[in-house]
Structures are given as structure tokens and as C-alpha cells.
């Protein structure tokens, strides 16, 4: 007995008085009924009509997958109704307000079917769904689960329509089902014959509430689906423009719109697409990936300007379009009230990070994504295997920060060792080379077939250059220059 709410006791069905008006979908001879609906509503509050889509095939999938598919379908359903809510394996949308616009429930059904079935096929689910429409959310849900594709227009007809349904549509647990079965209850109308207080005592208030909601006796709040924000703006130029810099003021105007949009929704974006439209050619697309979400107009404009700097367009530009689909919550920087040293330090490093991100974004925009590298050390003995230049983004994974070797290593390592000339017992690389210290034996990779077996020496040229040279231990025993102690 969790919460004993004080709704009026469930009225017993008065079968004789009830006027049922159950119509199967798709409706073919429904014109009379339709006319009845379009009459002006005399009640002060407008009635609603909820259309339920039930996907029993989703029950076998994991929760995440279910919500993912339901969200995708909800994206489509939004085109029919502005109020969409989620329920287990089903979606419910309000369609009373759009009946006239679409020209009847049949059209709405056809439109939804054409949208939803391809989406289900895309996810390799069985391409069907059960549906029903009634004036209450739970009522539609129960009717849809029964699989009879029922349509009920009026609230007073709900009782008889629901009464015919088996109790299994309520999705009760095993124990409750067993108890109902033992009590001889097979259909929902049997439940209404029982005293509601006793029902509440035996089956809990949720059970009674569900039926009350289905009948429209109790209010049922719904959690509505809010479609994710998307921003698109475009600008048609009055004449063709070839000089990209002349587009910047227009881009700026468009960015102002974008920033307004983001500010109003308290959002940030880290991915922005700018399309330059050409006549009779495919558009040029600029993909701006930010390292950190931003809604700073100046920064975005600066990045676009940098991109324009090395962009070649195939034809003059006749239009511009900005589209943003990825958003993040805006996290603003806040100043500290108490200026403790630690706090100040932290906030400084945060803002420093920000400017660094801006710098890296700018460099990447101008020089190309692959041009910015970070040096990473790998725990390897082979000198050329101990370093790797990675793109800045993908570094940090492999990097070890403790050197494997303790012997001195040069700052410059040649990617390909340069062979030295040995003449009259003297080594030459433009000038005579004299050995200073060594050897240091490096033997590794014997397992890979590209065995490294070298004796490394520190040497110097007459000019004063400090070199790192090696001699192969096997094969031709050649000498090579491998690095500079810069």
C-alpha cells in the first residue's frame, strides 16, 4: 500500500448503457465517424488523441539498443506530432491537433508507416509495428499491445474497448498474473467487477492507477521527447564572389546567428560545417573540428579565415551555408571568490589550456591536420624504434617517460643512417672523424629477421661536430652515421 490516493472508486461497468465505438484500422468506411469528430468541441478542455506505436520485436534487444532505436524513430515521428513520449518498446504521440492538417488518421498512419518501416529495416528488426489510438496514453498503450490495431475516438468508449482486452496487456509480473488467473480473471473488464479498495490492497496502487489512467480518470504526466537541437543557416550571395576574404563579413554575420542560437540554449559546439556553394559544381565543404567546445565568434571566425588562407575553390561562390549538429553543454569559466594561490594556479592553467587549444587549432587549420606532431618515446632498445612521431591527437598512449637506456643519446637521430667512408684506416664524412668513446653494443630484434647488431661510438669531426656513429657487427661491417649531439 504505497500511496493510497483518493480517486473515486472504480465504477462498475454498466454494460447495457455503454456505447462502444471501436473501429479497426485502416479505416475504410469511417466517413460518418470522422464527421462526428470534426464538430466543434463543446467541452472547455480540448480532448487529446494518442497514437501508440508498439514494437514487440525490440523486447529481445538490450536496453541501450532499444532506446537508441526508439530515439531514431522518435526523430521521424516528430514530423507528425510535436508531443512524443517514450514507453517500454513503444512510442506515443498526440495526433488530435494534427488530424485536420494531415486529413485524417488514415493519412497520418500511412505517413508514419512509410517513415518507420524503412528505419526498422535499417536496424534489421522485423518490419512491422502494432498501433492503436485512443484519448488516453495508457489506453492507447494497452490497446496497441493487444495487437488489434484499435481506434477509439471518445473517452466514454474507452471502457468497453479496454474491457475486452486480456489481462496480459498490462505486462504484470508473474506472481500477479498467477493471482489474477487463480481468481478467475481473464479480461480487464473482470477486474472492474472487483471492489477497488481490495484490488489496491492485493495488487498495489500502481495496478489500480494504470487502469484509472487508461480510462482517463487519473491524470497521466508524460515525459516528452525533445528533439536534439540543430542549427543551419544559409546565405545566397547577390553575385558571384571569388575572393574568399570578401566572404568573411558574411561568415561573421552567420556566426553571430550561430552564437545567439548557442547562447539561448546554453550550448557549445565543437564541430561546425561550412559549405561554399558553387554554380553547376559540387559545393566545397569546410570541416571545423574544435579541440574544445566553443561559442566564441571571434575564435570561429579566425579559424575560418585561416582555413580560407589555403583553400582552393573550383568556381566562384554563390552561396554559403553553416550547419551545426553536434552540441555540448556550455561550461563557463568562473572567477574565484577567494584568491587562494592554489585556486588561482588552477584557473590559470585552465585558461592557458584554452589558449593552447586555440593555437593548436589555428596551426592545424593552416598547416593541415597531420603537420603537428608530438615526440613519443617507446621502451625499445633499438635506437630507431625508441622514438615515434605521432600526430598530436593520437600521442600519449604509447609514450613512456622513463628512458630505457642510461647511455648518452643524441638530440638528432637520422631516419636513415648515412654510410661513412673508411679510407686508410680513417673514417670520413666530409671530414675526418675521430672516435671519442665507445663501443656500446646494441643487439636487439633478433627474433624479427631484421636483426640489429651494432657497436655505437661517440665521435667528432675536425670541425667540432659531435656524432653518434655505429659499426655493424655482422655482414660487411660498414660504418654509419646515426645522429648528432646537437
Amino acid at each position: 500500500m504505497k500511496d493510497l490516493d483518493t480517486t473515486s472508486p472504480l465504477p462498475l461497468p454498466t454494460m447495457k448503457k455503454a456505447v462502444t465505438q471501436v473501429v479497426k484500422l485502416p479505416l475504410t468506411t469511417r466517413n460518418k465517424n470522422n464527421r462526428g469528430i470534426t464538430k466543434p468541441n463543446t467541452k472547455p478542455r480540448r480532448q487529446t488523441l494518442w497514437y501508440a506505436l508498439y514494437f514487440p520485436q525490440l523486447a529481445g534487444l538490450c536496453n541501450n539498443k532499444q532506446t537508441h532505436i526508439l530515439h531514431e524513430i522518435a526523430d521521424l515521428v516528430v514530423s507528425v506530432s510535436s508531443v512524443v513520449s517514450f514507453h517500454p518498446q513503444s512510442l506515443i504521440c498526440e495526433i488530435r491537433s494534427s488530424l485536420r492538417y494531415f486529413g485524417g488518421i488514415n493519412n497520418i498512419h500511412d505517413k508514419l508507416k512509410a517513415l518507420v518501416i524503412p528505419k526498422l529495416q535499417e536496424h534489421k528488426s522485423a518490419n512491422y509495428f502494432l498501433y492503436a489510438a485512443s484519448p488516453t496514453v495508457s489506453g492507447s498503450l494497452l490497446l496497441a499491445r493487444s495487437g488489434q490495431n484499435t481506434l477509439v475516438y471518445r473517452k466514454e468508449n474507452l471502457r468497453s474497448a479496454l474491457g475486452q482486452l486480456p489481462t496480459s496487456v498490462m505486462l504484470l509480473d508473474k506472481e500477479q498474473n498467477r493471482r489474477l488467473y487463480n481468481m478467475g480473471i481473464r479480461k480487464i473488464r473482470d477486474i472492474w467487477r472487483l471492489p477497488p479498495d481490495e484490488l489496491r490492497k492485493r495488487f498495489g496502487s500502481d495496478f489500480v492507477n494504470l487502469l484509472n489512467k487508461a480510462l482517463g480518470i487519473t491524470h497521466e504526466p508524460t515525459h516528452n521527447y525533445v528533439p536534439p537541437p540543430a542549427f543551419t543557416t544559409s546565405y545566397d550571395l547577390p553575385y558571384e564572389i571569388e575572393n574568399l576574404n570578401r566572404l568573411l563579413p558574411i561568415v561573421d554575420e552567420m556566426l553571430i546567428q550561430l552564437c545567439e542560437f548557442l547562447k539561448k540554449r546554453d550550448l557549445n559546439t565543437d564541430h561546425l560545417k561550412l559549405f561554399l556553394l558553387h554554380e553547376k559544381r559540387n559545393h566545397t565543404e569546410l570541416d571545423l573540428n574544435l579541440r574544445q567546445g566553443s561559442r566564441c565568434r571571434n575564435h570561429l571566425l579566425l579559424l575560418i579565415e585561416t582555413h580560407f588562407g589555403n583553400l582552393n575553390i573550383p568556381a566562384p561562390v554563390i552561396g554559403l551555408k553553416i550547419s551545426v549538429k553536434k552540441f555540448d553543454a556550455f561550461i563557463g569559466e568562473s572567477n574565484q571568490l577567494l584568491m587562494g594561490n592554489l585556486i588561482v594556479g588552477r584557473s590559470n592553467s585552465n585558461s592557458a589550456n584554452n589558449t593552447l587549444n586555440h593555437l593548436i587549432e589555428q596551426l592545424q587549420a593552416r598547416l593541415g591536420f597531420d603537420s603537428l606532431k608530438s615526440v613519443s618515446a617507446i621502451a625499445e632498445h633499438g635506437p630507431e624504434y625508441a622514438v615515434r612521431q605521432l600526430n598530436y591527437e593520437e600521442s600519449r598512449i604509447l609514450t613512456s617517460t622513463t628512458p630505457v637506456v642510461t647511455n648518452r643519446r643524441p638530440f638528432w637521430l637520422l631516419e636513415n643512417p648515412v654510410q661513412l667512408i673508411l679510407r686508410n684506416g680513417k673514417l670520413y664524412h666530409d671530414q675526418v672523424i675521430t672516435l671519442i668513446s665507445g663501443p656500446e653494443r646494441v643487439e636487439t630484434y633478433w627474433w624479427s629477421g631484421q636483426e640489429i647488431q651494432r657497436n655505437y661510438y661517440i665521435a667528432r669531426k675536425v670541425s667540432g661536430s659531435r656524432l653518434w656513429i655505429f659499426r655493424e657487427c655482422g655482414g660487411k661491417r660498414n660504418w654509419y652515421l646515426h645522429g648528432y649531439f646537437a
Partner: protein, 247 residues
């Protein structure tokens, strides 16, 4: 005018003596006041400095880590911001080793070191050995065009969290240098140019040359540094360094 005359009096006391022997006490007084005035001026205006006094340049530099070099550099070390040219005729003269103590302190402060188009790949194990945090090292790849490299340098110099920018560019006209100089002042960043050849008329404010040590017993770590041009010195100053004494 009076200030200038008194300044010359303070630096060349013999002349002062010859002129004003009978009025010694009053000159001393004016001398003192003008001296403080000069000091104030020097402190207030960074574009004023004493002509031939390398140590007293009104700013404290960052220690190079080599006391011998500190002694011959204005401000007893590397400037906090600005441009420095290091000339080494060949690779492997110790030109990077010279900067290692500075790089270490920069990376300890959490600032970044940007290498713009270095001639070879910086070898990470060596940087780690030298105590530099390689997570704060960024490299712009080698085949970047000169124009792009200088553009990147300007951007990086302006960025406050870039502590040091290293570049290996030879084409540096005066106009470019002026822009880079201003960028370095804005971002309080140190920009280092490595050059193979030194031109006679370079506009950079601090120029150093690293050479092989003169000593006959060729040691690995010995090097000779010449300060070709610096604020406050007229003729090149030379010192011998032990580059690896830091370890």
C-alpha cells in the same frame, strides 16, 4: 641637457674634477639626485639602457645554467622574451645542449616548447634524459614551407603558454623580424633561431655563435660561445663552456 652632462660626469669623474673643484659639495648633491633620476628613467623605460655596462641592463634574465655564459649575457641570462640567434656552422656543435637548462625550467613551469620544422626528428629518449617533459614538446613537421613556418612562429610567439619557440629558418628579412619581435613581446615568449651562417647585418638583438673549443685536447663537452651582439656590449665576448657539466 643637464641630465646628460651629469651622467657624463658620473661616468668620467676626472673631467668633473677638473672643472668644478671649488664647488664639490653641491655637485655631489646634484650628482646624487641626477643618478636617481637616471635610475628611475632606466627602470621606467625598457627602451633605455646604459651603453657599455652589460650586467646592469635593468632586467633580470633567465639563467642559462652556465655561470660563465651568464656573466657575458645582458641581464645575467637569457632574455625573458624576445628573439635570439644562435649560429652554429655545423649540426652537432652543442647548440641544443646550450638551451637544455632553459628548456627544462620552461617545461617545469608547464609551458610548451614548439619546434618549427627542425632539420631532423628530435630524439625523444635524449629529451627525456635531459629532463624535459616530452608531453610539452610540439613539433611542426620538417617539410613546412618557410612562409608557413614563420606564420606559425608568429602565432606561437603570441601565445602566452608557449614558453619557447625554436626554428631553423635562414630567410629572415627585417620586416619579418620586426613582426616576430613584436609578437614575442606580446606573448612574453622567447624565440630562438638556429642558423648555419651568420650574416653581418642581422637585426636580431641577441646573437651568439657556438664553436668548437680552441683547446687542443678535444673534449666531448667543451665548446666556445661568442656573444656577437647584445645590449650593452660593443665587442664580441667569448667564453669556454663545459656543456655537459649540468648533469
Amino acid at each position: 641637457m643637464t641630465i646628460i652632462r651629469s651622467a657624463s660626469a658620473s661616468t668620467e669623474p676626472n673631467i668633473g674634477k677638473a672643472f668644478n673643484q671649488h664647488d664639490m659639495s653641491s655637485t655631489k648633491k646634484t650628482e646624487d639626485t641626477t643618478c636617481t633620476q637616471i635610475d628611475q628613467l632606466l627602470q621606467r623605460n625598457p627602451n633605455l639602457w646604459r651603453g657599455c655596462n652589460i650586467t646592469d641592463q635593468g632586467f633580470q634574465g633567465l639563467s642559462t645554467g652556465f655561470p660563465e655564459l651568464d656573466d657575458i649575457l645582458p641581464g645575467q641570462g637569457w632574455p625573458q622574451s624576445g628573439l635570439v640567434e644562435i649560429i652554429s656552422r655545423h649540426w652537432g656543435m652543442g647548440e641544443l645542449q646550450l638551451l637544455i637548462p632553459l628548456m627544462r625550467s620552461i617545461s617545469e613551469q608547464g609551458q610548451w616548447i614548439l619546434w618549427i620544422a627542425p632539420p631532423y626528428v628530435p630524439y625523444a629518449p635524449a629529451l627525456i634524459q635531459a629532463g624535459i617533459d616530452i608531453h610539452q614538446v610540439l613539433v611542426i613537421k620538417q617539410d613546412t614551407s618557410c612562409k608557413d613556418a614563420l606564420w606559425s612562429m608568429e602565432k606561437a610567439l603570441k601565445a602566452k603558454d608557449c614558453g619557447m619557440v625554436l626554428t631553423w629558418q635562414n630567410w629572415l628579412p627585417g620586416k619579418v623580424l620586426r613582426r616576430l619581435q613584436l609578437a614575442a613581446e606580446t606573448g612574453e615568449t622567447l624565440g630562438i633561431f638556429f642558423k648555419r651562417k651568420g650574416s653581418k647585418y642581422s637585426q636580431l638583438p641577441l646573437r651568439l655563435q657556438i664553436k668548437d673549443s680552441d683547446s687542443k685536447n678535444h673534449q666531448f663537452s667543451a665548446a666556445e660561445i661568442t656573444v656577437i651582439k647584445a645590449r650593452g656590449n660593443f665587442r664580441p665576448l667569448t667564453t669556454q663552456l663545459d656543456l655537459y657539466s649540468q648533469k
